[in-house]
Symmetry: C2
Subunit: 226 residues, 2 copies
DNA sequence: ACAAAAGTGTTAAGAATACACCCATGT
DNA sequence: ACATGGGTGTATTCTTAACACTTTTGT
């Protein structure tokens, strides 16, 4: 553990993948880079992590500053992976700790420091700076696993939601369709949600029962979903 | 992304959790610290990661230097998690990227630089430096998941093994017993292993058929195990 | 002959899949 | 009355779980 006095650590950065459902489509938050490298390209909201600041603190600060997103708008945050190939930043070796954040209706607020924060459907991303396309792919795949063995989907849904919304959230993340009757039977049997006595009325059709999650904290499922 | 010229990154370290089965017991590799802090305590083999070196390279260098373990003795290596609480190192903020390595029969070779590399049963660990007990607990839990949805167990077993050895490897990682007939039926149905025409003879009892894994690379299972 | 681990099958309960029609509402 | 999404059940197949005895070997 002796540290030569020549020791120089790499730059440490934090990059954030913020997911959110918009019109039943899975979206990810991007900003437009205002400086080189990759000036003008879209990128994940990320930034430097200085000594004395935890990566979680850096994540919150960066989201607020660059995207105008408050971290209490994220229902679930999870560290993903640390990307560290030497060539990923043309300016020099930068190690990036990545986080995934899930929100219901994240409203990026434009401020003086924000950089055009915009949600893009995961299936139609623009070309991205650095290795951010890889990071998003990794996050998406982690999210798919996460909703199969935990109740993580709660973080993408409003407090009260219909079974159709729930199914459609699963379909948006999985990128495939599910059978309505089997979905309902299985999900109800997992004992994660409760009926409310409210109904959702919208459009010229039968109103839908609203449900809530019994717990808004991450819990493992007794059986894996899907 | 403007970087104030006052930017100082935290120290970056890599810590490694090396698992190995010894007499059907899950063991983890520790070294004895020779310097402060935590001098004399047991710790994971870890060390500094300088700019220009990937964390994987740092892992290999550190394992070789501090524990005399060559990385080709590890059948599977996976990044785990990045631990970054400011207080985890009393000398100052150090962010640690952690790796899990699985080996068959890792023989730590003592060299001038090694620090008493020793395997300890996961269920009987000595008191540990830093937050290394947390890191091992995290790694163990990840390993348990990993063997339920992938063929990762291959990395802990010799090339040829008996079904009893295989079952006992699962039991060692899960810390619980499995039913012999159900285990064999299920595992054989996963189509991961092949009979060889060799038998393992040992002791005063019926010889056991030896099997091999069809693939020595990580693969997802069609159904989750257990 | 005995001790020790290897090997083997059946039954019952639970879970997954496939699949089509009626219901309640707004216009 | 019609268009729209909400809501519901059954039969079949597959998977899991519980459970005990015979086989082959070395001493």
């Amino acid at each position: 553990m002796k540290q030569a006095n020549t020791y120089t650590p790499p730059t440490l950065t934090v990059d954030n993948v913020i997911f959110c459902l918009i019109d039943n489509v899975l979206n990810v938050l991007l900003i437009r880079r205002t400086t080189e490298p990759f000036q003008g390209d879209w990128a994940l909201p990320g930034g430097y992590n200085a000594a004395g600041e935890t990566t979680t603190e850096a994540m919150q600060r960066i989201l607020q500053t660059k995207a105008g997103v408050k971290s209490d708008n994220l229902q679930l945050v999870e560290q993903l992976y640390t990307f560290d190939t030497v060539a990923r930043d043309p300016r020099g070796h930068a190690v990036s700790v990545t986080y995934m954040g899930l929100g219901r209706s994240v409203q990026p607020a434009a401020t003086r420091s924000t950089q055009s924060p915009t949600f893009f459907p995961v299936s139609h991303l623009p070309s991205l700076a650095y290795d951010h396309a890889d990071i998003i792919a990794y996050a998406h795949s982690r999210l798919q696993s996460k909703i199969t063995y935990t109740n993580a989907i709660f973080a993408l849904l409003p407090q009260r939601f219909t079974l159709s919304q729930l199914q459609s959230a699963y379909e948006a993340v999985f990128c495939r369709e599910l059978d309505k009757r089997n979905f309902r039977k299985k999900f109800l049997s997992l004992d994660l949600i409760q009926e409310t006595d409210e109904m959702h009325r919208e459009g010229a059709h039968r109103p839908a029962r609203l449900y809530t999650f019994k717990s808004q904290s991450l819990q493992a499922l007794t059986r894996t979903f899907d």
